[in-house]
Amino acid sequence: MAGTRLGKNAIALTGLAIIAFYIAVIIVALFWLPYDPVAMSPAHMLEAPSIKTGHLFGTDEFGRDILSRIMQGCSVSLIISISATLMGAVIGTLMGIWAGFLGGKWDQFIMRIADILFSFPSLLLAIFIMGILGEKTYNVIIAIGIVYIPQFARVSRGAIITLKSSEFVRAAFSNGAGRSYVLFKHLLPNIMMPLIVQVSLSLSVAILLESALSFLGLGIQPPYPSWGNMLSSARKFMMLAPWTAIYPGIAISFLVLGFNLLGDGLRDILDPRLRNVK
């Protein structure tokens, strides 16, 4: 099924559709939310989801509407994940292409740094950096961004090394092009595609990392809603009010699924073409 062109596009498109849905939610949330996400209403605490009360996903331990909180948390999560991934992508790619292009000592040096960063389990590294920087929102971006640097460095370095010895590179040099020129005008566009795939896949993990950090209390601080910290506070009441734990989790999973589908679909579309290039 997914072997056909249509099939491959279908996967990517489904992913794209899911992401578009979330973006739509964000836009809507800018103007309208069913309830005020931070307004506490002790009288209505831990109410089960029902259409009658208007709380489609129920309320949490402070009487706040869960659906509204999920909607609001959406924007923060997405913004953080996208910024962090982009930061990691830009820095990592720059490192990687210089390493791959220059080779030799530079290669060794840059990749050593990447290796060192790589020897920490991602979550641990992120927690560590948050510990150093302090629990501000923008620090989450930096922390996750740093975690991603080695990944992008490796991918871009690998791609550059493969392409370095291609004919068109030699042709460009023999026409008198300078090193920077060849690097940015020729090589970079050609490694865009694997990088885009990597970005899409990294976005999915970034969201998981951000929610894990929030879950542990190191990310978005309450009362501002983040899916992660919603799950964290839900732990105390899970048994009585499972909806407090279920819906935020679904929100996370579905978005991550969207990015995974997109990344997978893109990779499927690219791969056969990559093979034909040989």
Partner: protein, 344 residues
């Protein structure tokens, strides 16, 4: 390995192979170990210096404004907090102590760090092993099934399942498990952990769900790698050759395809295993298990920087070591790599 010397003729071939393998691998192992040292050194430097940046880890913060100290106590405190000498010197001293096995003392508990960490090691290792076994047992067969595409529906279902497995946050899975299975006493650990050697059955029962929560994500990764690898391998010419010999389909898939396809899976499984040793933080937190990840987390919460230094260094070192072992396993399985060391 061209031709056995006369002295070795008569010794069974398999034995010779193992001995030769050991010799060659020995060289390879040493080389790889040596290349690890700069990385570990780099890790230790980064950890040491960065920890110094953690707000609240300095002596002033510790004391606050209210506490009065005598000059002698001040000197002693400064020594303990490492504020009596320039940082690079402190680093060298610390490194020296670490290499001798002395990781210092926790600021909070005043207990020696290394024994505390080591006490938690078995739990982390156990979870990692169980999760790995589960993941391999689920992931590899599903990956193969999906790749050989007997029924297109199976393929789709497995792939979707794989993507789902990747998308679910571990801590959410863990929470759901707690909700769903809280009635199964003895299956959900809540701070009542027992060691493996004291009560094996209870221990495994208790670690099952935490390991499963981790294992599902890992199974998804392994399934996808197995599937992709098998798909690539099945296109290879030597599979066509194997079929042209008239071999049974099962033989072709297992002896020829799987053997080759498993290589990248080894790498990926190894990498993730290393990750798990220190990365199971949230799982340990949700299930209240006294593992190393949780220790690291609380060390960071509490700004207990000698502990932070020690545990992060150790976790990173284990990660790197596991990767080394993975590489060795890979080299043992793939003759092209190991014979590359000029043994021809």
């Amino acid at each position: 390995m061209k031709g056995n010397p006369a002295a070795l003729r008569g010794v069974p071939n398999s034995l010779i192979n193992i001995l030769a393998l050991g010799l060659i691998m020995g060289r390879y192992i040493v080389r790889r170990l040596l290349s690890l040292i700069p990385v570990l050194l780099g890790v230790s430097i980064i950890v040491f210096f960065l920890v110094r940046l953690i707000p609240g880890s300095s002596l002033q913060m510790y004391l606050g404004t209210q506490v009065e100290t005598t000059p002698e106590q001040m000197v002693e405190l400064k020594r303990i907090f490492g504020e009596d000498k320039p940082v690079p010197v402190l680093y060298i001293e610390w490194l020296g102590r670490v290499l001798r096995g002395d990781f210092g003392y926790s600021l909070r508990t005043s207990r020696p760090i290394l024994p505390d960490i080591l006490q938690r090691l078995p739990l982390s290792i156990e979870i990692t092993i169980i999760a790995l076994i589960l993941a391999l047992a689920i992931g590899i067969p599903l990956g193969i099934l999906s790749a050989i595409k007997q029924h297109p529906l199976t393929d789709v279902l497995i792939r979707v399942g794989g993507l789902l497995g990747l998308s679910l946050p571990q801590f959410w899975l863990a929470s759901l498990m707690v909700i769903a299975f809280s009635n199964f006493r003895g299956w959900i650990p809540m701070g009542n952990y027992v060691g493996f050697f004291s009560a094996p059955l209870q221990n495994i029962r208790m670690l099952f769900f935490p390991s499963l929560a981790i294992g599902i994500g890992l199974a998804a990764v392994i399934m996808r790698y197995t599937r992709n690898s098998m798909l690539e391998v099945l296109q290879m010419d030597y599979i066509r050759t194997a079929k042209a010999k008239g071999l049974k389909k099962k033989v072709v898939i297992v002896r020829h395809a799987l053997r080759n396809a498993i290589l990248p899976v080894i790498t990926v499984a190894g990498f993730n295993t290393g990750y798990l040793l220190g990365g199971a933080i949230v799982i340990e937190e949700v299930f209240a298990l006294p593992g190393m990840g949780r220790l690291a987390l609380y060390a960071i919460y509490q700004r207990d920087y000698p502990l932070i230094q020690g545990i992060i260094l150790l976790i990173a070192a284990m990660f790197v070591l596991v990767n080394l072992v993975t590489d060795l396993i890979y080299a043992a399985v793939d003759p092209r790599i190991r014979l590359d060391d000029g043994a021809r």
